[in-house]
């Protein structure tokens, strides 16, 4: 192994020791380092390979500083994934649970066609509202920059969503859906919608914060 390759291998070790992960972003940084070394050697400054290596390493930056910057990006995203998963569960439950109730109603021959059509309309509205809320609520929600506060609001919303299931939904509508149907049906549909909207707030807040945070501050070291 040449001296340069040995130096690069040692640099990789220092990066790994500082917690820079492989293959991403370490491979990318190494590719950058090699290009910079090549450019330095060809620059006409008569630098030796070792000098070009040291200069290029300096330009890349300190492993610990780099690690800190990458961590800032990845850490919130990992938690974001958990929050997103919780949101997906809430949304899935609020789409599929009423579906069974509505289906049983649609398949019931004792129910006339008008309530059946109404049930389909209510369910379609519920699903559309849930999907719209999941996809676009971040545009309406504020970008809470304080991570603790943002997470707390998200958790409170999930809590509200669970309480809604526990105390609200399973006690409604009184007398089932087969009697006086119009009002219970609408309330039933809107209950699930409210629950899903609540459940997706945590995800929406994370998305709002992520979309509205400027990444460029990192480049000039203003993190």
């Amino acid at each position: 192994m040449s001296d340069l390759e040995q130096s690069i291998a040692q640099w990789r070790q220092r990066m790994l020791a500082a917690g820079i992960k492989t293959p991403v972003p370490l491979e990318e940084l190494e590719s950058h380092l090699r290009e910079e070394i090549e450019r330095q050697i060809k620059s006409g400054l008569s630098l030796s390979e070792q000098e070009a290596f040291e200069f290029s390493v300096q330009r890349i930056g300190q492993p610990k500083v780099l690690k800190r910057e990458f961590k800032k990006i990845n850490a919130p995203m990992d938690i974001q994934k958990i929050i997103k998963l919780a949101g997906i569960i809430a949304v899935a439950v609020s789409i599929f649970c009423p579906l069974f109730i509505f289906l049983s109603m649609l398949l019931d021959h004792r129910v006339s066609s008008l309530p059946k059509m109404l049930a389909v309309a209510v369910y379609a509205t519920t699903v559309a509202t849930i999907v719209f809320s999941w996809k676009y609520n971040h545009k309406l929600l504020p970008a809470i920059r304080n991570q603790l506060l943002r997470r707390a609001v998200g958790i409170v919303c999930y809590g509200g969503c669970l309480l809604w299931i526990r105390f609200g939904i399973f006690h409604f509508p009184p007398g089932g859906l087969h009697g006086g149907i119009v009002l219970p049906l609408f309330i039933f549909g809107s209950e699930w919608t409210v629950m899903a909207v609540f459940g997706s707030i945590g995800h929406g807040l994370e998305k709002a914060a992520s979309k509205k945070t400027e990444p460029a501050d990192l480049l000039a070291g203003q993190s």
């Binding site: 950058h32 400027e214 000039a220």
Partner: protein, 110 residues
């Protein structure tokens, strides 16, 4: 040398504008910005990557692994639809700032 605050604020629009010309990779982006600014816009090399990764997380750009002419592994970045929208927004805002500033400067010489 350009102030740090301005370097930071201009990074995202510059990266988006460069990628709008076609896919590119970290090293080339840095070199092009340096060349186009006559070396006055100096980015900290390693710090470009957290910025690129953050932009990718935000859905503005996407990446793929490829190979250089010499066979070396390279990560190429390209613009996504949201990136194009963000670039148009940046362009509008920077043009506004520029026109206000140019207008004020012109008035000083009248």
């Amino acid at each position: 040398m350009i102030r740090k605050e301005l370097v930071a604020a201009s990074a995202e629009p510059l990266i988006l504008a460069l990628l709008a010309k076609g896919e590119s990779y970290g090293y080339a982006i840095i070199q092009e910005v340096k060349a186009r600014s006559d070396g006055k816009l100096q980015w900290t090399d390693g710090m470009l990557y957290p910025v690129l990764h953050r932009m990718e997380h935000r859905g503005l750009i996407k990446s793929r692994w490829g190979e250089s002419e010499t066979g070396r592994k390279r990560k190429y970045y390209s613009l996504k639809k949201d990136g194009k929208t963000a670039m148009a927004k940046h362009h509008e805002q920077w043009s506004l700032v520029h026109s206000v500033l140019a207008g004020l400067q012109k008035e000083q010489y009248v």
